[in-house]
């Protein structure tokens, strides 16, 4: 295999802190090259240097053996490097065609658009990739998976030799991911190289030809396909072995706290949803995206309006405003953490303190010392990196931002109910284990934990009771005993295999 890209001795510091320490990274022609590492290991930073978002402090980049200098995104494009970022870079108010051609329009005399020609080319491209979209669709009307295909087409149009994908499946479901893999293999067969960043080990095993593993800004290994196995990879990534403890189902004690949801209906989606969650247990809610899982959590937290039904904690009806509900000791980690969970320009401590200010008063003023202590506790409990409490959240890596949001609710001492929506999307294996452990610890302290997750394995691993929702209704409630992933997937597509189990 010929070498396409060589990055040698790449270094990068942000305000004095080295986040890349002499990274060597090579990608072959027509190779799918995996890139893994813990949250904050420096994956996105490496890619951003390659694509001209940041300048590197030192190091050499070669394409086909020739040294190149990349100072902007257009330099990268000119060298055949294109990237699909963690956060998409499409313009929602423009059409698919306009987006594909954005920055590289076909024009008469550099001014007027050749709309017909562009339309035709876009159609050809869509056909060639067998995507299910039309050139005139407005991007804002497309779902995330389709938006991604638009991004891919944008790269293809540039005749990119190297396409970089930073956690492309983070917001895709199984079917959509499968489809993406097909596209990627198709690209490979046409000689395009792919750099594939992901926290999902199974994808890496299935797809990549080689895998580079980063830890703390340095390469700890490059594995060829044959040597990629879960234990080795995890050990290299986090420097220790994870023990997968057997799952045991915890039953609720008879005097346990209970959250009772009865006949919850909302204008748009929820249809007589009823269930009970008990202290000491983790209730997992599975089902399709759009089946009303997040709405249930949001209704409990007082964010969404419900038209009928009641929500009671130990027999007492909960107020219907988020402010009062959170005073009650109920916390919500929302799905869209970047927009709903964080104030990006505030630092870690301030973000963590936000829902906890009622505990930070000392006389009339907030105690800075206590605020800081709380922040440090939060950082330690989920090993957020870098552990500097004064860093602004916008400068944290994607995964670490998520940890901050989760951590801020975990700091509440009087937490009675924790509602978590997709707790581990974009979070590395090590931190996942920590989050599971924390949720279990909370449950053991008598707290009610309700988790919505699309990751079926996660559901089986952590939940004691599993609730499957379909089209705004509770389809099935099961005790998590001897359940397999198939049981869940079947239930989510409306097929019952096990008898419903209400014994509790």
């Amino acid at each position: 295999m010929n070498t396409l890209l060589q990055m040698i001795g790449i270094e990068k510091s942000f305000s004095g802190v080295k986040v890349l320490k002499g990274v060597d990274f090579t990608v072959g022609e027509g190779e799918i090259h995996g890139l893994m590492g813990e949250n904050g290991a420096g994956k996105s930073t490496l890619i951003k240097i390659l694509t001209g978002v940041y300048p590197g402090n030192s190091g050499v980049i070669r394409m086909n053996g020739k040294e190149i200098f990349i100072n902007s995104r257009s330099d990268a494009m000119a060298n055949g490097i294109s990237v699909i970022y963690q956060e998409l870079s499409l313009i929602p108010t423009l059409t698919v065609m306009e987006n594909i051609f954005l920055g590289q329009e076909l024009t008469f005399g550099k001014v007027f658009l050749k709309k017909k020609e562009m339309h035709r080319r876009a159609e050809q491209l869509i056909e060639k990739c067998r995507f299910d979209i039309k050139p005139d669709d407005l991007v804002e009307t497309l779902c995330v998976a389709k938006r991604q295909t638009v991004e891919i087409m944008k790269s293809l149009l540039l005749n990119a030799k190297l396409i970089i994908m930073d956690e492309p499946t983070a917001s895709l479901n199984a079917a959509e991911s499968e489809n993406l893999f097909k596209i990627i293999r198709n690209l490979k067969s046409q000689g395009t190289s792919i750099v594939y960043i992901s926290h999902r080990l199974e994808e890496i095993y299935a797809m990549v030809d080689r895998l580079t593993i980063l830890r703390d800004g340095a390469v700890v290994g490059v594995l060829p396909r044959e040597q990629i196995d879960p234990v080795t990879v995890v050990r290299m990534m986090i420097g220790k072995c994870l023990d997968c403890a057997e799952h045991t189902v915890h039953d609720a004690a008879s005097e346990a706290a209970v959250l009772e949801v009865t006949n919850l209906c909302s204008e748009t989606l929820l249809d007589h949803v009823s269930f009970r969650a008990y202290g000491g247990q983790i209730l997992g809610i599975g089902g399709l995206v759009g089946s009303g899982r997040s709405e249930v959590l949001r209704s409990i937290f007082g964010l969404d309006h419900y038209t009928e039904g009641s929500i009671r904690y130990n027999g007492e009806a909960l107020p219907r405003s988020a402010r009062e509900v959170s005073r009650y000791g109920i916390g919500l980690v929302p799905e869209d953490r970047r927009n709903e969970g964080l104030i990006p320009l505030l630092n870690i401590v301030e973000n963590m303190a936000l829902p906890n200010y009622d505990q930070l008063y000392e006389t009339a003023f907030v105690s800075g010392k206590r605020e800081r202590q709380l922040g440090m506790r939060g950082i330690e409990s989920l090993s957020i990196r870098p552990g500097d409490p004064n860093i602004r959240c916008i400068n944290l890596s994607g995964g670490n931002q998520q940890k901050v949001v989760i951590s801020k609710w975990l700091q509440r001492k009087d937490l009675k109910v924790l509602l978590v929506d997709e707790p581990t999307a974009g979070i590395d294996v090590g931190a996942k284990a920590e989050i599971y452990e924390i949720m279990r610890r909370l449950a053991n302290q008598g707290c009610i934990v309700i988790v919505v997750t699309s990751d079926v394995e996660e559901l089986i691993k952590i939940a004691d009771q599993i609730l499957i929702m379909v089209d705004g209704k509770v389809f099935q409630q099961m005790r998590n005993e001897n359940l397999t992933q198939d049981d869940i997937l079947l239930a989510a597509s409306r097929i019952k295999r096990k008898e419903p189990d209400h014994a509790n």
Binding site: L90, T93, L94, F112, L113, N173, E202, L288, E458
Partner: protein, 337 residues
């Protein structure tokens, strides 16, 4: 799934029907309203506010705001009045100089916003005063240094405003601006880029668009439109008041908002703005006909802006909600670890 065309057409029908309702109300109550004379005089007024509004439309679609347009208009008008009265320059040259001043003002706005990274609102708020100051500097004074207004008597220049029967040809300038503006937005690269930077600046940057240049271009377009409006205004009224155009920048923005230009950027086009401008001018004109006091007029602007903004936010939220029914199939199998 709604196509792009449907959405914007529906939005235009809404503002158009507001115009129609208003026409109905006014013509039912005021007899002189539906005469060709009145209609043409409304259109003449529309062309001045309408031009300002077309200009600010570009800035707003590009994600910014420009409140210096009224002052730029006054600068251009004052330059015309000075040059016509004091020199023998040919008219075309005078017009070019006035429009050139508009370009310069727009360029200054654009440079301040992009190079000094000032906010659009603050920048144009500041330059609004600066440009207004220039108007005072250029104004005529008597021997004692007191400010005076001086009417233009040059027939040649005044024909710019002209009159063909009951029709005022300066309306055509506005119509041309609407059409050219529409083509610019929809058929050129620049237009696509203006929507792009107004919707998502960062994504536009990542697509290799020179965001700063496009932003500057929107301010220059706004400057050109405002200056052209100034030329028409002075040719029409034959003299410039020192305060001329002040307050008009907000009417222009209001017209754009009524026409469906989302203040958040990235949406709308000049046809919408044109409808909005007609609405605003009729509102002013109609209120005047009823003899209602000015305070009612100003309050009405405010109320209309609020209503239309609320309408847009509800409308777009509803659209998004419907689009969000993107039921993603089965959950994913977790990774084996």
């Amino acid at each position: 799934m709604k196509s792009k065309i449907d959405q914007s057409v529906i939005r235009k029908l809404v503002s158009l029907s507001m115009v129609v309702i208003m026409v109905a109300v006014f013509s039912a109550t005021a007899q002189s309203f539906l005469t060709s004379r009145n209609i043409f005089s409304v259109l003449r007024e529309v062309s001045v506010i309408g031009l300002l509004s077309i200009g600010v439309t570009f800035v707003i679609i590009g994600g910014g705001i420009d409140i210096s347009t009224g002052a730029i208009m006054a600068v251009s008008a004052m330059i015309c009045s000075r040059l016509v009265n004091m020199t023998l320059m040919p008219i075309w040259l005078i017009v070019c100089i006035a429009v050139g001043a508009g370009i310069l003002c727009g360029l200054i706005n654009g440079l301040l916003v992009t190079k000094l990274k000032m906010s659009e609102l603050i920048t144009t708020f500041a330059t609004m005063f600066i440009y207004r100051g220039i108007v005072y500097m250029l104004a005529f004074r008597d021997e004692d240094g007191r400010l005076i207004t001086k009417a233009i008597t040059d027939k040649g220049f005044l024909t710019i405003a002209g009159k063909w029967g009951n029709f005022y040809p300066m309306t055509l300038v506005w119509i041309a601006a609407v059409v050219i503006g529409y083509l610019l937005l929809k058929k050129t690269k620049l237009g696509t880029y203006i929507y792009a930077i107004g919707t998502d600046r960062k994504a536009a940057l990542f697509s290799g668009i020179k965001v700063d240049r496009i932003k500057i271009a929107t301010f220059i377009i706004s400057g050109i439109c405002a200056a052209t409006a100034g030329v028409l205004l002075v040719a029409w009224q034959a003299s410039v008041a020192l305060s001329s155009g002040s307050g008009m920048e907000f009417q222009a923005i209001a017209a754009a908002v009524v026409g469906g230009i989302a203040l958040a950027g990235g949406r709308g086009d000049t046809i919408g703005t044109a409808i909005g401008s007609i609405f605003m001018v009729m509102l002013i004109n109609g209120i005047y006909k009823y003899g209602l006091p000015t305070e009612i007029q100003t309050i009405t602007y405010g109320v209309v802006i609020v209503i239309m903004s609320v309408f847009d936010s509800i409308y777009f939220r509803a659209l998004n909600k419907r689009n969000q029914v993107t039921k993603r199939a089965v959950g994913r199998k977790g990774e084996a670890s």
